[in-house]
Symmetry: C2
Subunit: 222 residues, 2 copies
DNA sequence: GAATGTCCTTGACGTAAGTCAAGAGGCGTG
DNA sequence: CACGCCTCTTGACTTACGTCAAGGACATTC
């Protein structure tokens, strides 16, 4: 596994020069985790941040009564907890592996030394940073649209691709995970998808949703 | 109005040296807006960001059917749209003045020139940046806790202060604004507050909520 | 092959909260 | 003062969605 070339292709560092990437790589290590394993916990000192190489991890918070709220699911290429590195000290949420996963660990200390030494990196990183902010804005927008039909329709359309002239959405998460991502529970998710099927707005086989008429489905995504 | 000393006290720049603050001030100007006036609109080129000096502005997005969703209300001292500056180009949301307001305008160009020239500023700014991220996380957490009693109880407790041995919460926004901030409508807000009053958990006069027993109210904030 | 477990689906039910509608109180303007 | 306008409140109604419960499909293990 070549950490260096992997980092060069992440959106956070893709504009780094070769030399810059080399220097960054020096502060990294590989971390392999098994399904369900804790990667970091809310409140602990943030000694490093991560980028997912393979597998999936979820960022979540626990409410006082122990319920779990998924904030994000991160897959390959996505940085995790980089925000905590510039911060005073601690992770703002917890993270576990949804499946066996490999991550690049980037040490806080090495990272901070690097951008102190090569300040031009900051702008490149800031730009990546602000992209993350946009994601949060989108997430908030998503949650504020409270109707499940809207949220699901929007999700399907945003994650669809055209294949052989057909608009399809490959479900890359389990439906249970998807439910959590969309801010609901499996039952409601299932019912909403069933509604779309019954209305002939979508058909499903083998975890792929076919959308015969995207414009029709779009009517629900308001 | 002394922009320079104002900037020196904002959380984004408070760790700047005097000289740094002077340089920053050179790229700024004052902007006065009347209630309801547009400050910037979603999608437009981001030529500047702002810091609120006085008054209040709201950041919002419009859904396709024209409904307005408040993302934030920013008061004195808070930066607005700084995220857009590092970004490709455009404002991710719109902003209007909730009341007559004064803002410091910081030009994109001048700002970027400055941190290129004095790169050590980046770290200081990044730290401020990540604080904003935390706010978004908190907002998401807030929205994901879907019960209004919880959200209102939490809001009251988080914004309460102890005065003369009493725990009180001064409502600094109108109840209509508060509703939007808490992700609901005035009717529901009113009913929920009425419920708390009826349960003797709070009393209200003159836009100040008195919380006789915070622990009791806290039971609702889960 | 029976048993156990997980994921997904479907049904019945309850409830929080949005919609619609009406009215009270405050405030500024003609 | 009367009138319109806005904020806030309250009531009646409706609905989306979460909870509880049951059952089917499928894989894994003994």
């Amino acid at each position: 596994m070549d950490i260096r070339s992997f980092l060069a292709h992440t959106f956070l560092f893709h504009s780094f020069t070769d030399k810059e990437t080399d220097l960054l790589t020096a502060s990294t290590s590989l971390k392999k985790v098994s399904k369900g394993e804790q990667i970091f916990s809310e409140g602990l000192e943030a000694t490093a941040f991560f980028i997912v190489v393979s597998g999936k991890v979820k960022i979540y918070k626990l409410s006082p009564d122990g319920k779990e709220y998924t904030l994000h699911i991160h897959g390959p290429g996505e940085p995790v907890a980089e925000a905590a590195i510039f911060d005073s000290m601690t992770y703002p949420a917890s993270c576990t592996a949804l499946e066996d996963a490999t991550l690049v660990r980037i040490s806080r200390e090495g990272f901070l030394d690097l951008i102190k030494k090569y300040p031009e990196l900051s702008l490149k990183i800031m730009s990546g940073y602000s992209k993350r902010l946009r994601q949060f804005v989108a997430k908030i927008e998503e949650l504020t649209v409270k109707d499940m039909k809207s949220r699901l329709a929007r999700y399907l359309l945003e994650n669809s691709v055209v294949e052989n002239g057909k608009t399809v959405c490959h479900l890359t998460h389990s439906k249970k995970e998807l439910s959590s991502l969309l801010g609901t529970i499996p039952e409601t998710f299932s019912r909403t998808l069933a509604f779309f099927k019954q209305q002939k707005l979508v058909t499903e086989n083998d975890n792929t949703i076919v959308i015969p008429d995207p414009k029709k489905l779009k009517l629900f995504s308001d």
